[in-house]
């Protein structure tokens, strides 16, 4: 029953994608897409509640010609706390994205008016994206993960290039190229696993001899860096801001980049056998990414690009937590995984706010906006809550995850812990100050010419913002019990 539910979670949106693409009218298409996304969320909740102790593993199908050579079935479903976290983020934010899109992609959008044409394409790829993210989350082994992983790359390529102007086509291609190059490393890692231990299970990583394990981990790490836009592969993500804003939100908060950090979390937690050198490399690069991304904050004028750099830095937090987990701190690992949830909801809030601003004013330029709080109180509230949540101000979401990462860091031996804590806190403070400054610039102060608008965005978008504000407060309440089960 549970495996049927999990398979359905992939099949329903995939099938829905085809139907949504084939439908003629826009109204039915919106209704269908929202319905499908909502159904997936419902099944997801069922699965999360039905899983006893979160150790569910079932075979679904296999490939006859690989049967003899592998120790397990090729296709299957798996549900453990980590997968549950990813499912929660991908499906709930997926639903929000679809709901938001139904009003965002309209003629009335002052930044990018979108009419009837393109709608079919958009919802096809969006629902397929949802299906492939669910696939990534429930994959029981590296091979299936790789397949869905590449599918997310494909979907994001199509969606980033959605507007089909010069810039978005280039950005889409860049995203495809860079993440695909990373995917190649993933493929090599899977091949090495297959050849040397005859398995593609996650746990096979622990069975590799020491030296080879390090190399495989490095290959996986490069793949994850490319996917999660970490230094030195961070450049595709800010360019991907050419995508429609709901897509950016989904890419950043729940899909695509989160697949990268999910791979790392999987690799580290499968057997907890990561070589220390690999974990240290992961941690060092995560820190470097955080600070390099931070250095880009101050020169951004495009609100979405600023948020993109913030995402890069926050994925650094997740990877830092995962790396500390690899070095033996389970609290930091849980913190890192919790950060997937917390950052997901807070960053989605910020992106949807940026989308609302663009929808109403037609610009995303920080310099051109000012004093919007008076005409857009809901958006302003959501944005400030998002900023506080992302910056880790208690009691909002990211505080709890950052706190756990810090708590894990301080327990490290050899004096490195306090240094890490200081670095993380400095990054937190500076990025918080800047985001707050930008929030004040956009929403407070004198009203600029472009900001002379009279209302918040339409109700569907407003409802999503309101729900996300609540999620920014409540995400840890759901996330913490889940991550507590990791590593038990």
């Amino acid at each position: 029953m549970l495996s049927a539910a999990l398979v359905l979670m992939v099949v329903v949106p995939a099938f829905g994608a085809v139907v949504a693409g084939a439908l003629k009218g826009d109204g039915p298409r919106w209704a269908l897409s929202v319905g499908v996304a909502a159904l997936v969320v419902l099944i997801g909740i069922y699965a999360a509640l039905a899983a006893p102790g979160y150790r569910y593993h079932a075979a679904v199908g296999t490939l006859p010609w690989l049967d003899a050579m592998l120790d397990g079935p090729v296709f299957g479903v798996m549900l453990d706390p980590l997968a549950a976290v990813m499912l929660l983020v991908a499906t709930v934010i997926g639903l929000f994205t679809v709901l938001y899109s139904t009003h965002y992609l309209r003629e009335k959008n002052r930044e990018h008016a979108t009419g009837h044409e393109g709608q079919a394409r958009y919802y096809f790829w969006l629902l397929l994206f949802l299906a492939s993210m669910v696939g990534v989350a429930v994959s029981p082994n590296f091979l299936q993960l790789l397949i869905f992983w590449e599918l997310t790359t494909l979907c994001s390529w199509a969606l980033i290039s959605f507007y089909q102007d010069e810039r978005s086509l280039r950005s889409g291609f860049k995203a495809l190229l860079m993440t695909q190059a990373g995917g190649a490393f993933f493929l090599v890692a899977v091949l090495i696993l297959f050849v040397s231990v005859g398995s593609v299970e996650f746990t096979a990583l622990a069975r590799l001899p020491d030296g080879l394990r390090l190399w495989v981990f490095i290959l996986l790490m490069i793949a994850a860096w490319a996917k999660a836009a970490q230094v030195p592969f961070h450049t595709w993500l800010p360019d991907a801001m050419a995508a429609p804003t709901p897509i950016s939100a989904y890419l950043h908060a729940a899909a695509m980049v989160k697949a990268g950090v999910y791979l790392m979390a999987r690799s580290v937690s499968a057997g907890w056998a990561v070589p220390p050198a690999g974990a240290i490399a992961l941690g060092v690069m995560a820190l470097a990414t955080m600070f390099i991304a931070l250095s880009y904050y101050f020169v951004q004028d495009d609100l979405k690009r600023l948020l993109a750099y913030s995402t890069i830095a926050h994925l650094g937090y997740v990877l830092l937590g995962v790396a500390l987990g690899g070095l033996g701190s389970i609290i930091a690992f849980r913190g890192g995984v919790l950060h997937i949830v917390c950052h997901g909801f807070s960053k989605a809030t910020l992106f949807f706010c940026a989308g609302a601003l663009a929808y109403v004013t037609g610009t995303r330029s920080i310099a051109a906006l000012g004093g919007l709080a008076r005409s857009m109180p809901l958006t302003a509230t959501a944005f400030f809550v998002g900023v506080l949540a992302v910056a880790g101000v208690p009691p909002f979401a990211c505080f709890w995850s950052k706190f756990m990462i810090l708590a894990g860091a301080i327990e490290l031996r050899g004096g490195i812990g306090p240094v890490l804590v200081v670095l993380v806190l400095v990054e937190s403070l500076v990025s918080f100050a800047w985001m707050l400054y930008v929030g004040q610039k956009v929403f407070l102060g004198p009203v600029t010419r472009l900001a002379e608008v009279h209302s918040d965005p339409p109700p569907a978008m407003g409802a999503v913002l309101l729900l996300l504000v609540l999620a920014c407060l409540l995400a840890p309440a759901i996330g913490i019990p889940l991550v507590e089960m990791i590593g038990r």
Binding site: L177, F233, L429, E484
Partner: protein
């Protein structure tokens, strides 16, 4: 119902009030009265908590929530210190909200939905801060307080100064809090618990094993509390942020929020850090920080023209007195429990008094702004005739803050001086600190004379008549001013609870009881049993003052047959406009302003730009990805050049390929 049950219910009522006032946000008066109603109901329950705690002793602890992921319990409890702060908070909360109901009608274009709910959340978080017994929930409430107050500071969103002040406020406080977080984590990593008592064990171990780290952690805590309390130089956010908020909120800040810095100081130094040489050393730091702050803060206040900015600098100055008292107490505790206790009592009592008169002053400034439409002392004037009750209350509070007997400010300041002088027999330089404090008390008086003269006396600069503010705005001011008088006349009454709060933190230190420390009333007798007892008897002094006043009014004036004439000011026969002859507030104390010009330097911080070469290095696209893509592209076009369309050439490639394959195979086999 248990004490904690009452507490939970009271705080929940406040939270419900926040929600109710948010939902009623589009209706100005309804929102305000709803919040007052909820605050009163919740406040009564909290008052019951306070009464119960002081009669039946501290409540047992209760675990509110368990966060298993980090093995943390969120613990609540009410001890004497919590009860003392709960009492202040409830009292000030009700009064400031009541004042705000009418006051907020000034802001016609701003919805009260972003005022009352935040004010209530602020009070909830303050109640949370003072009733938690573990670091994690303390931190959460502490930050919630900063968040709520930040949004109150940026209430007037069109003003750029308000924005800048809000940003500075939040960032500076966030920095301090993150430091405290790091300190707390260091302690946590030793004992795996956030409970205050566990942290105490951690400190004990740390002070023995790694004293440098222990002092660093204490420093981080001190920094966080000093920043919140507004001690210079960390407190430089305060004179910017306070005036930006609406007056009701400013009164709440001055009366409750700033005081939590003192609360934190007491908790950390008396409960979390075990009594040790570190206490003594840090007591010295606290006292010196206090003296520096009261000196610079009050002298800068003298120069201010904006009423609220003037009062904000006095917050800094007054917090300096509290730090001085508490610091001396900590410093002397090991040497003489009696003197240590007196210092602590003086500092905490001063904090209590300051809550009362500073709230009253801020409310008075709000009343002036409400009617006269300006906060500049040079623009208002002569309001005393039109707003007599406000003037009377503001006058009482101003004299109280200046330490004029027999008001409450004098009582606590007198205790600080007396402690310093008494301790001076053993530590002579403490007397120096007392002398600075006494001098600054005069400066305070001078600056409040400027306030009273500028705002309430003299003549109106414009002819427009003003009216007294409505009753809902008068009641809070009168209540606060009356409490100031009562606390001044019978200082032992509040001191009883202050004593319970302080000694409750140090059960094993063997501190003297109240009668030994301050006599058994109604006045104060410092350190009964020690030689040279200092005595302050407010009731006889007050009676004498009253008699003197009546005497001068009735006997001298009546007997002399002097009559009161209402005539225009005499301008030496010149025909001048009354404004030209007006002595504006900005002309007060000019020599002082020159003498202390550089005492409060303005520093502008500009972050250094990122070097160009570093930016180039970070731009990976430019030196890595783009060249790679171009190279691959060139390679691909090179390969494509082999496709020439001539069959013979393809045949040649096939032959070459075959040779290569054979060679490789042979190489592998051989």
């Amino acid at each position: 119902m248990s004490t904690l049950g009452l507490l939970g219910l009271g705080v929940s009522l406040w939270l419900a009030g926040a929600l109710a006032s948010l939902l009623a946000g589009h209706r100005r008066a309804a929102s305000g009265w709803l919040s007052v109603a909820f605050l009163v109901c919740g406040g009564l329950l909290l008052a019951a908590v306070v009464v119960r705690t002081f009669t039946a002793g501290p409540s047992p602890e209760a675990v509110l929530l368990r966060v298993g992921a980090i093995d943390a319990d969120l613990v609540v409890r009410v001890d004497y210190l919590s009860a003392l702060f709960l009492a202040i908070t409830s009292f000030i909360a009700v009064l400031t909200a009541l004042f705000s109901v009418e006051y907020m009608s000034r802001y016609r274009h701003d919805s009260v939905a972003k005022y009352f709910p935040l004010l209530l959340v602020l009070f909830v978080s303050i109640a949370g801060v003072v009733t938690t017994a573990d670091f994690l929930s303390f931190l959460v409430c502490w930050e919630l307080m900063t968040v709520a107050s930040f949004f109150l500071v940026i209430f007037e969103r069109e003003s750029r100064e308000g924005m800048r002040a809000g940003l500075k406020y939040f960032v500076v406080n966030q920095a301090a809090t993150l430091g405290m977080l790091a300190g707390g984590l260091v302690l946590w990593s030793r004992v795996d618990s956030f409970h205050f008592l566990a942290l105490r064990d951690a400190f004990g171990a740390l002070l023995g094993g790694q004293p440098a780290l222990a002092h660093l952690v204490i420093f981080l805590f001190f920094l966080a509390f000093a920043t919140k309390a507004g001690v210079l130089p960390m407190g430089s956010w305060l004179p910017d942020a306070y005036p930006a908020a609406p007056s009701g909120a400013t009164a709440a800040f001055g009366g409750t929020m700033t005081k939590l810095g003192i609360y934190g100081l007491l908790r950390v130094f008396l409960e979390i850090v075990p009594l040790s040489p570190a206490t003594r050393a840090w007591g010295l730091v606290v006292a010196l920080a206090g003296v520096g702050s009261l000196f610079v803060g009050t002298l800068t206040a003298l120069k201010q023209d904006d009423v609220k900015r003037l009062m904000s600098f006095h917050v800094i100055g007054q917090v300096g007195y509290m730090f001085l008292g508490i610091g001396m107490g900590l410093f002397l505790l090991a040497r003489s429990p009696m003197l240590g206790l007196l210092g602590l009592l003086a500092g905490v009592f001063h904090m209590l008094n300051h809550s009362l008169y500073k709230s009253c002053l801020f409310l008075g400034a709000g009343a002036v702004y409400y009617r006269a439409g300006s906060r500049s002392l040079s623009e208002v004037g002569g309001l005393g005739r039109y707003m007599p009750v406000t003037a009377l209350c503001a006058g009482t509070a101003a004299l109280a803050i200046a330490g004029v007997p027999p008001l409450n400010g004098f009582a606590s300041k007198w205790m600080i001086y007396a402690t310093a002088v008494k301790a001076g027999e053993q530590v002579p330089w403490l007397v120096l600190l007392a002398i600075v404090a006494i001098f600054i008390s005069l400066v305070t008086l001078a600056s409040f004379i400027k306030y009273l003269a500028g705002a309430f006396m003299g003549s109106r600069t414009t002819e427009e008549p003003v009216r007294e503010v409505p009753a809902a705005m008068l009641v809070p001011q009168v209540a606060l001013a009356l409490t100031c008088v009562v606390f001044g006349l019978v200082p032992l009454m509040p001191l009883r609870y202050v004593h319970a709060a302080v000694t409750g933190l140090l059960p094993e230190a063997g501190l003297p009881d109240l009668a030994a420390a301050l006599g058994d009333g109604p006045g104060l007798q410092m350190a009964v049993g020690m030689p040279d007892v200092a005595v302050w008897a407010p009731l006889p002094v007050a009676a004498a003052l009253v008699v003197l006043g009546l005497f001068s009014y009735y006997v001298i004036q009546r007997a002399g047959g002097a009559t009161v004439r209402d005539v225009p000011a005499w301008t030496c026969g010149e025909e001048e406009e009354s404004t030209a002859a007006h002595y504006p507030a900005s002309s007060f104390y000019v020599p002082f302003k020159h003498a202390f010009r550089g005492i409060y330097p303005q520093v502008r911080v500009t972050p250094p730009p990122l070097p160009v070469w570093l930016r180039r290095v970070f731009d990976v696209d430019r030196w890595l990805h783009s060249p790679t893509v171009r190279m691959v592209g060139r390679g691909a076009s090179g390969v494509s050049r082999t496709h020439v369309g001539i069959p013979q050439v393809y045949l040649l490639w096939i032959v070459l390929g075959a040779v290569a394959v054979v060679a490789i195979l042979l190489g592998l086999i051989g």
